[in-house]
Every structure is written in C-alpha cells, then in structure tokens.
C-alpha cells in the first residue's frame, strides 16, 4: 500500500493538452550518435514569475542529472535572447523562437501552479523547438523539498525513455564494494548520479562481486573471511544478510539469471565450475565446467547466452555459451589476459577488461560482427565493466585518481566519476523494484 502511494505521489500522471505530440527519437545505439541540445526554461509559478524556492532546487538537480547524458548538451541560459523566464509553460504563450536561435532542439518547461513552497504539484513538459510539438508532459503531485531528487530522477527517466526508448539509467541503483583496509570490504548502494549512498552489509572480511536480482530484491556477493568463502545474500525486503557456505573452497563471481536464479563458480573437484543454483540457493546443475578455471558468468536478458572467463586455452579468455545448444565459442581473440566479461542485456555486445602493458583496459566486442573496440584508455587500470539495463551505459572501476567508479557508454568517450566517498570497486547495475515506472 505504501509502495502504491509512493508511486502515485512521485510517478505523476501524463498531462493532456492541445499541443501536437512530437515523436523525436535519439539514436544512442548506432555508431553516429546524435547530440541533442536541450534548454531548461526557468521554472515559473506564473507568467514571467520565476519559482525560486523548490523550483530552483529541482532545476539544479535536473541539470546535474542531465549532465550524465553524453549525448545531451545543455544550452547556456545566457545564450537565449530574451532570457529563459517565460510568459507561459506551453504554446501558444511559449516562445520557441528564442530557443531555436540559441541552437536548442528541445526546451523543458517547469510550472508550479500553486507556488513552490511547502507541498505542491509541479508540471514538467518537454517540447521540440522546431515543430513546437510536445515530447512529454507530466504532473507530479504533492512534491515537498525532500522529494525533489526523486521527482528529478523520475522526470529524467521519463524524458530519457521518450527520447531513446529506455530510461533505465535514472531508475537504476549501483551496488558496489567499498574497501576499508586489508581484507575488509562491504557492499554499498548508490544512484549512478551519486545520490542515495548507503551501506547495506557490515561484515568482517572481504565482500566482492555484488550482483542484483532482476526483480531488484536481492544483492548476492562473494564473501571471504579468514577461514572460508561464502555466498552473501542481502534481502532488500528485510535488510538482512545471509552467509551461505558450500562444500569446497571457492564461491566466486555470482550473477543472476533473468529468471532470478544465481549462477556462481564453486569448487567441484580440481577446478571451479559454474553452477546454477535454485531459488533457495542450492546447487541445481553445472552450467559450465571442465579441466580449467571457469568463472564470472554473465547473461543476456533472454537467459539463452552466457559469457564467462575460462583458462581452457591457457591464459584467461572470454567465451560465450549458447545455453540452448550447449555450444561454446571463444569471444576474445586478442591479448593474453581477458577477464570480467559482462554481456549487454540486449545480447549484442560483450564488454571485458584486458591486461595491457599499461594496466587493464576495457574493450567492447560486437557479437554480430566480431568487431572489437577499446573504450577506455586509463590512466591507471580500468576493470570490472558492467552494462546498465539500457545496454548503453557502462560502469567500471578505475584507479585513475584513486580507486573509484566511473561511467562511460558502449561508444566509449569521456568517463564521469560516480561520487562514492572512498575507494570503490565492482559496480553492478540494478533496478530496485524491478525498474517499475
């Protein structure tokens, strides 16, 4: 009931209106990625009356959020002739010309019909400046000061979905590991924008390789203390952590399959093999094994493909298993040390780290063409890449400027650091609540 109420409060509802519905699409997946110029009109509570309370704060958070989108360029308000404080929030009182002249493709208006102090509704709209067509419009009722980050995230997710077809980035939470000395690391959560940082485990020993369940309820991880390895399981519903032991010596690199089961490398004779566990974390069957090291499973969203690291040809390399036919093919063909594969949820790309003479670097391989591209170039060592549910953003750990978590995309480009307040490793994307809008 509480969840439903929150959804009603923050989810907002679409605004109907007379303006033309536009259908602008931004292709972020193809090789020639578009750049979108977006202007944020000043938030208003009436004609040419700027909302300087919650309105200004919300504007600031939205601006910070949008700065994480590498394909979006925010228009400098000073470049808008006549300024960004508008007479109206929608046509016909909305003057598109000034934004066209400033080079903006999209203008976002924010209207606080009852003022912007206390608990008030806010309406946010986005228009294409050339056609005047509305891309998006939603009212978020009962917004108070503490709700502003949540409202900003929901709006940005909605806008991103409108433009690209997927708003997962702003709905995601990263699980990661934060070190606190030798053999001491715990699991934390943070939004990719750096907000809502919190610790979810507090156990002596080393936690590694956190992974979200697709429904966003569990985070599993490897836990190593002085005596043993175990599978750690954090339950979002209860906030409790279980430590599950298995026969043998290793519990390495757990990952969820799309049907909420866990695959993890466990001991089985001389070599670690990849086991599938059932819904109560008991061994169900072997997914991949043999007389070599097999670790770090990762799945696409259909659950039919599994990439993993194997030493079957000497040094560690990335392989792909078709779980239907059982056939295994080698993915990484260059370099002698390729590990930490992560399949894009859409199954089109695999990202992995390669040891080079300058440290580890991250590479992406197109699963259709076999083409491989390097997407990070240091400095330091870039490791543990992980795809967002949108198959576009990639988080990775890097030693550039201390151990931290950075964001890039399937195309590479400038990496942006996620503020984590300390040495951070093993970023893994998740959609708490299953990514419900």
């Amino acid at each position: 009931m509480k969840k439903l109420l929150l959804l009603l409060v923050f989810g907002g509802w679409l605004i109907s209106g007379n303006s033309v519905q536009a259908a602008m699409r931004v292709d972020i997946y193809g090789p020639g990625q578009n750049i979108v110029n977006l202007a944020l009109a000043a938030p208003i509570r009436g004609p040419q009356t700027e909302a300087t309370g919650m309105g200004a704060k919300l504007q600031q958070i939205v601006q910070q959020n949008l700065s994480f989108l590498p394909f979006m360029r925010l228009t400098d308000p000073k470049a808008v002739l006549g300024g960004t404080v508008l007479a109206g929030y929608e046509p016909p009182s909305l003057d598109f010309k000034r934004f066209q002249l400033a080079g903006s493709d999209i203008v976002v208006t924010t209207y606080w019909p009852e003022g912007d102090n206390g608990t008030r509704p806010v309406q946010i709209r986005a228009f294409e400046t050339n056609t005047g067509g509305r891309l998006f419009g939603k009212e978020y009722p009962k917004v108070s000061s503490k709700d502003l980050p949540e409202v900003a995230d929901r709006f940005c997710a909605d806008l991103l979905e409108t433009l690209t077809g997927d708003g997962s980035f702003f709905r995601s939470t990263l699980a990661f590991v934060k070190k606190n000395g030798k053999m001491n690391a715990n699991v934390w959560l943070v939004k990719p924008t750096g907000r809502d940082l919190r610790q979810i485990t507090n156990m002596p020993g080393e936690s590694m390789s956190p992974a979200w369940s697709p429904d966003g309820r569990f985070v599993v991880f490897s836990h190593i203390d002085k005596q043993s390895h175990a599978l750690g399981v954090w339950d979002r519903a209860s906030g409790k952590v279980q430590r599950i032991r298995f026969p043998g010596n290793v519990v390495i690199g757990p990952a969820f399959t799309p049907d909420n089961k866990v695959a993890v490398a466990l001991s089985n004779g001389k070599y670690p093999v990849i086991f599938l566990l059932n819904h109560v974390f008991q061994k169900e069957r072997i997914l991949e094994g043999g007389n070599s090291i097999n670790v770090s499973p990762t799945f696409d969203k259909t659950g039919t493909k599994m990439a993993f690291t194997s030493s079957r040809m000497g040094g560690p390399q990335i392989f792909l298993k078709d779980l239907g036919s059982g056939s295994v093919t080698r993915v990484s063909k260059n370099g002698t040390y390729n590990t930490e594969a992560n399949l894009s949820p859409d199954g089109t790309l695999v990202v992995y780290s390669r040891m080079t003479e300058y440290g580890h670097r991250i590479f992406v391989q197109d699963m259709m063409t076999g083409e491989e591209r390097q997407i990070t170039f240091g400095p330091g060592s870039d490791e543990q890449p992980s795809f967002c549910a949108d198959s576009y953003f990639i988080a990775f750990a890097s030693t550039r400027g201390g151990h931290g978590i950075y964001l890039t995309t399937r195309h590479g480009g400038d990496a942006k650091q996620v503020p984590t307040g300390g040495a951070a490793y093993f970023p893994r994307w998740g959609l708490p609540g299953g990514g419900k809008k």
């Binding site: 030798k182 053999m183 080393e206 590694m208 390789s209 490897s222 190593i224 002085k226 005596q227 043993s228 390895h229 010596n249 290793v250 390495i252 690199g253 490398a265 001991s267 001389k270 070599y271 670690p272 090291i293 670790v295 770090s296 690291t309 040094g315 560690p316 040390y337 590990t339 930490e340 780290s353 040891m355 580890h360 490791e383 543990q384 490793y425 093993f426």
Partner: protein
C-alpha cells in the same frame, strides 16, 4: 560491604599467586603444552612459502624439497592442522585471481597428500590478491605475493 572487601582481597591474592607461579616457569610466554621440537616443526611448516610464476599454479622443482620437509613434519605431528592459503599478485583481476589462488593452494595440498599427509590435517582457501605479503608494484613485490602460505590452525 565486608563481603565485597573479602572478595576483593581473595581476587588480589589469587592474581598475586598466579603472577608468582609464572615467574618460576622457565618459558612463561610459551606455556601451551608444546615441546620445543613441535614448536620448531610448526615454525618450519609456516615459515617457508611456495612461490609461483605469473598466472601459473604448478609447483616448481625448487619447492619440492621444502614441501617434503613439511610433509614429514605433518606426518610426525598428526595433531597439527594447516590451512594452505593461495595468493596472487596485484596484476590479475579479482575473480580470476580467486580461482587461481585456489589452484595454487590445491597444488601444494595435492603434493602434500601425495607424500602421505592425511588430508584431514589440511584445508585450503584462496585470498586472490586481497592479502599481499608485500605492498608495492614491480616484479620484486609481485614475485613475493604469488605464493602459498601455510598457517597452523590447530596442534
């Protein structure tokens, strides 16, 4: 009040008594029931490490005599239990290194068992690259971190 004073006096007398007893013991710090020979055996088992080449887990010939000595001591002192801890240098990645560390620990384990050590005296763990013996980068540090440690966990 009188009762508390009596208890306090008794406690102090007991503490003083224990203090005097320790002073008369020849090896006060090691009064753990071990003979000097067993203590020397434990030191021999734990002090010498097995080192590995990069991304390898085979026992190199120069460590076979050392493992033979450990095996002889473990067979002689069957109450000693040892945890073999496999470790890696910082260059590899964490998950693969956990598996590699396990293979290193297993290599020593299997060698010792082949030499007749009771498997019940041994256990294994991999710390990957999380427990370096030496801090720093460069082959001098790396070569000291690609290792098996032998820790006595019971005797």
């Amino acid at each position: 009040m009188k009762r508390y004073a009596l208890i306090l006096t008794l406690v102090m007398a007991l503490a003083a008594g224990f203090g005097c007893a320790k002073k008369t013991t020849s090896e006060p710090a090691y009064d753990d029931g071990m003979t000097p020979e067993m203590r020397a055996a434990i030191e021999q088992i734990t002090d010498a490490r097995v080192y590995f080449a990069f991304d390898k887990f085979n026992i190199q010939p120069e460590y076979k005599d050392m493992l033979k000595t450990k095996a002889d001591l473990l067979k002689k002192y069957s109450s000693i239990r040892v945890r073999i801890e496999g470790n890696c240098d910082e260059r590899g990645t964490q998950e693969y290194n956990l598996a590699l560390g396990e293979r290193r620990a297993r290599a020593s384990y299997e060698y010792l068992v082949t030499l007749g050590v009771n498997p019940g005296q041994l256990e294994m763990i991999s710390y990957g690259k999380e427990n370096p013996a030496v801090q720093g980068s460069g082959e001098a540090a790396w070569s000291k971190n690609r290792r098996d440690d032998f820790r006595v966990i019971a005797h």
